[in-house]
Symmetry: C2
Subunit: 398 residues, 2 copies
């Protein structure tokens, strides 16, 4: 597997474009006659575009995605459904596609009517710009940004077991994972693999569970979260384990970018749990640590506060025994074992605590927790909780 340029346009025949005006952005992605699958928010309040895209995917086929930022089109009643339909219809008409093959995604403020007088011309503008180029992928990634501070894309090429070459590319946006007003995690992934809808569904579900679902910024879950995978089959190659591995790698890289760009984040936190009784326990423990407000503020303060890490594993619901747990902190090439099989090494005045304090000054910090009970492993991604998170979300005004 190798990392390549191009984002979603690294895949043959995929066209992309973006167009922006004020706080609104439109991204159009065309990946004609694809099999497709998607994963959506489990929030019981669901935005109009999510409802329609779920319907559109009933036959496991898509040809395009239309996405807007600036307005979530959620809690907008019947006229919200009409507006989403109009967005899809615009794309279908202009590109001569079946409207049922167009997915829709929105991110932005909840409860306000979409300004169709701005959205419609932007869709037209984006469609005129459609092309298969690295730049086009970036424009699409930029168009879906809200409080994101950088655009997010990633692509790879991998050789399958039978020697065939396939590509996978993705763009995503995050920021507050999830800030219901200006947040929402969206991710659109393209590939040239030739797969049935069921094969894609299974591949995407597995990949999302260990990647996007392991990112926590603030624990709030959006009404609009959407991950779409489209496969246009242009490689002529079928799914195998190498494809699955490459898909998970692309998703994990996109997930890491979301965590790094969490609202107000100054530090990226990766928490690896090993030795849990099972995978479920490992995931619960890893997510509890990255979700803990106290761990997050300690990271912002560059404080190697292992007591908060232990306490969050303790309430995660995972099986654990405080007498055998070990905790490592690492950054760059440096790693220290602050707790070793239940014994605290990082006492005040020790060299080891000084090293831990040095590690905590890094921007990318890894916590490795060995629970010592079984084979369950998991990795979760998060960021610190800073003054800026409070500022961004307190100053934002309805």
């Amino acid at each position: 597997m190798k990392i390549i340029k191009g984002g979603i346009c690294a895949v043959r025949e995929v066209l992309a474009a973006g167009a922006c005006e004020d706080e609104y952005g439109i991204a159009v992605i065309v990946c004609k006659d694809s099999t497709a699958s998607a994963v959506f928010t489990s929030n019981r309040v669901v935005a109009a575009p999510v409802k329609l895209t779920r319907e559109a995917l009933g036959d496991g086929k898509l040809s395009a995605i239309i996405a807007n930022s600036g307005n979530a089109n959620c809690f907008t009643g019947d006229h919200g459904m009409e507006d989403s339909k109009t967005m899809a219809q615009e794309v279908a008409d202009k590109l001569l596609l079946d409207v049922d093959d167009v997915a829709i995604a929105s991110t932005g403020i909840i409860g306000r009517k979409l300004p169709m007088n701005i959205i419609k011309p932007l869709i037209g503008k984006a469609i005129e710009r459609l092309e298969n180029s690295s730049k086009a992928s970036t424009y699409a990634a930029e168009a879906i940004m809200t409080t994101d501070t950088f655009s997010k894309e990633f692509s790879v090429e991998t050789e399958l077991k039978n020697g065939k070459i396939v590509r996978i590319g993705g763009i995503t946006k995050g920021s507050g994972m999830i800030a219901p007003n200006m947040g929402t995690m969206l991710s659109f992934i393209t590939t040239d693999i030739d797969a049935t809808p069921n094969e894609l569904k299974s591949a995407l579900k597995i990949a999302v569970e260990s990647t996007f679902n392991m990112v926590v910024i603030d624990g709030d879950e959006s009404t609009n979260d959407t991950v779409v995978l489209m496969a246009n089959g242009s490689s002529g190659a079928n799914i195998d384990e190498n494809f699955q591995e490459a898909l998970e790698y692309v998703c994990s890289q996109l997930a890491r970018m979301i965590a790094k760009d969490g609202e107000g984040a100054t530090k990226f936190m990766e928490v690896e749990v090993n030795g849990a009784s099972n995978t479920k326990d490992a995931r619960s423990a890893a997510k509890a640590v990255v979700s803990s407000s106290l761990v997050k503020t300690a990271f912002f303060g560059a404080d190697p506060n292992w007591g908060r890490i232990i306490a969050s594993v303790g309430y995660s619901g995972a099986d654990m025994d405080e007498n055998i747990i070990s905790i490592n902190l690492g950054s760059g090439n440096k790693t220290v074992k602050i707790v070793d099989s239940g014994v605290v090494n990082a006492h005040e005045g020790t060299r080891l605590l000084e090293d831990a304090e040095e590690i905590m000054k890094g921007k990318d910090i890894k916590i490795t927790i060995d629970i010592g009970l079984g084979d369950g492993t998991a990795i979760a991604y998060g960021c610190d909780l800073s003054y800026d998170y409070v500022r961004i979300n307190a100053e934002y005004s309805t």
Copy 2:
């Protein structure tokens, strides 16, 4: 039922005292020959005093509580157990009690040895000061404070159905609910009711579920949380529904004080959910709203951001239908219905939104959510998320 003065010492024959030095405080409460029950943290990492108090309560009897602040005596191994035993033994020796009748509680930093050279003399000093007075209750409440900004006590007198009069008094501390380093929720409640250990156990369990368990400051759960109820029987009256009501009232008032004094809090938030499918759903929904970082930051910013409230109910796991939910915001005498049966009233430029913005400037804000599906109700207590929460928890240094 009437509110009376005296805290834990409102109950006859209860003695209390506090003594402090630097960051350490000692509270001693004597309620001789009581039946007793307690509720502890469900964190799998459990402090030494919690382990010993659980044992001491095996026979449902207590005569005294010894509590310290400044050090949680958690993750301290065998010597931690020895130190907790020594604390109980000091009290037993000086007051001629059975050591098994002394409960122990600790709050403060995790993973450091208790400084017994400070703790022991403080216990002696506190015991010398023991008395049944309103002041003594306050001293005890002050001695267990950590990042709390005010001491917390409450007491009532109520008439049972048979005309007998009983009293209930409590002290508590909170602040970070729970900051594993300088947090921990502790609450000690005394009463003169005459009850069996099983009657007390059931009464306390029911009361805690709808009060202390409905407080969320930061979602972190301590290794040391402890609520103890001691009944010395001096009223000669037995438990009935009026006692249960009074106990729940005392617990709810103490719980409200914890929420009001959450770390960095500038606003108190009470969330009442009505019309849920059942009590479990109502509690999930109410807790999701007070726990949401986005709702909490919106409150800090005095922003009537109902979209964040709806979204958190949506991911709470409670049954809900966005087309019938209603949301009221209130403060003081003012209330506005921002969402009425799925219809948004608080549009930009409306008088109603201006009123909602005015309400959000208050210090005590009540959100009432009517889910409209059933009879489930619940109230949760919380506070806003401010710069000061981040400062307190980021600047605190191991």
